[in-house]
């Protein structure tokens, strides 16, 4: 169980790094996107858009150290809950918008898949949180490799889904 929690910690860490870095590279575009979500008032959304990628990086960094892992995972859980709220609001209003989950690295829409993805990450974060209270996160080459591979798998699934939704849209419009 400890090994699984360690792997999930690496998975969460790499996922959030992959998510944060492209946002930081094109910060103005991400800021515009958070405003376009329309969930928060514009000035707050703009500030959130600037702070979010750095918070993601900070949380991911804390996660890797045994003593700070709990704080890291709590930060990430907070972010995941805010993402879930934003995406479910978008789904309720039936707006079509980029999820901006990976900045410009991936062209992903805010849809049910995004919500499922957030759910999986939240479950992973809870497992890490529960284990981290009893045992500090311990990293080894194996856990790092497996956790990173899990992230690659997750990103591949995202790429496949994005391609699939585009193809489905084309087919439906063609009909």
């Amino acid at each position: 169980m400890q090994m699984i929690a360690d792997v999930l910690a690496v998975f969460l860490c790499t996922m959030f790094v992959v998510s944060a870095v492209p946002k930081i590279i094109n910060l103005p575009a991400f800021k515009e996107l958070t405003v376009a979500y329309g969930v928060l008032p514009d000035p707050i959304a703009a500030a959130f858009g600037i702070l979010l990628p750095f918070t993601e990086l900070f949380g991911a960094a804390l996660l890797l150290h045994g003593g700070t892992a709990i704080y890291g995972v709590l930060i990430l859980l907070g972010l995941l809950l805010s993402f879930a709220y934003a995406v479910s609001t978008i789904l309720r209003t039936k707006k079509t918008i980029d999820c901006g989950c990976y900045g410009k690295f991936f062209d992903a829409k805010a849809d049910r898949f995004t919500l499922i993805k957030i759910g999986i990450l939240t479950v992973a974060a809870f497992i890490v949180l529960i284990r981290a209270t009893a045992h500090p996160v311990h990293l080894s080459l194996n856990t790092v490799l497996l956790g990173s591979f899990l992230t690659v798998g997750f990103l591949t699934a995202q790429a496949v889904w994005s391609y699939h939704t585009k193809a489905m849209d084309t087919l439906k419009n063609h009909h």
Binding site: M3, V7, N142, L145, L146, F149, L150, G153, T156, A157, V160, W161, H164, A167, M168, L171, K172, H174, H175
Partner: protein
Amino acid sequence: METFLLYSNLLLWIVQLLVLFCLFVLFRQFGEVYLKSADAISRDGIPIGDSIPEFVGEDLKTTRVVTYKELEGKPTVMAFISPNCGACKELIPEWNQCCIKYQKRLNFVLMGVGDRKKLEEFVRGREILGKILWDRRNRFLRDFRVRVTPFAFVLDEKGVVGGKGLCNGKKHIEGLLEELEKHSSNAG
């Protein structure tokens, strides 16, 4: 060695889940291509050249039982409709126009599927020319191999399918009649 096996096992599970996800996506896309496209829908229904199956319907206007035998002797345009289908509602005005134009030489039959009360509501407040039969045995769609409504067949005077396809208006109905003429001349 045990550690290696454990990690490789977990790795394979990740790959397996990814493959299953890709398969799900692939089937979903195939479904869209092969089941929902206009070409796919036009492949539905009794094949051209085959006779229609025996059926029993209830005439909603007279509550009389109508069988397939009553359609013989005159070519028939037969369209399947369901009360909740928006396109079926939009079809009715042009259906009536075709009815007026071709009623001397053709039977016009609407085959209503689904709940009787809803079908009666569908009919109420609308002038519908031709016969409208209710699927009292709940077998029309299965027996005629129809998946979507509105879908129509044109039958020759012996009840043999001469044309079929989606039927959203006058253009489609007249297209089906052209198919029937081609089929009749080929058969002749």
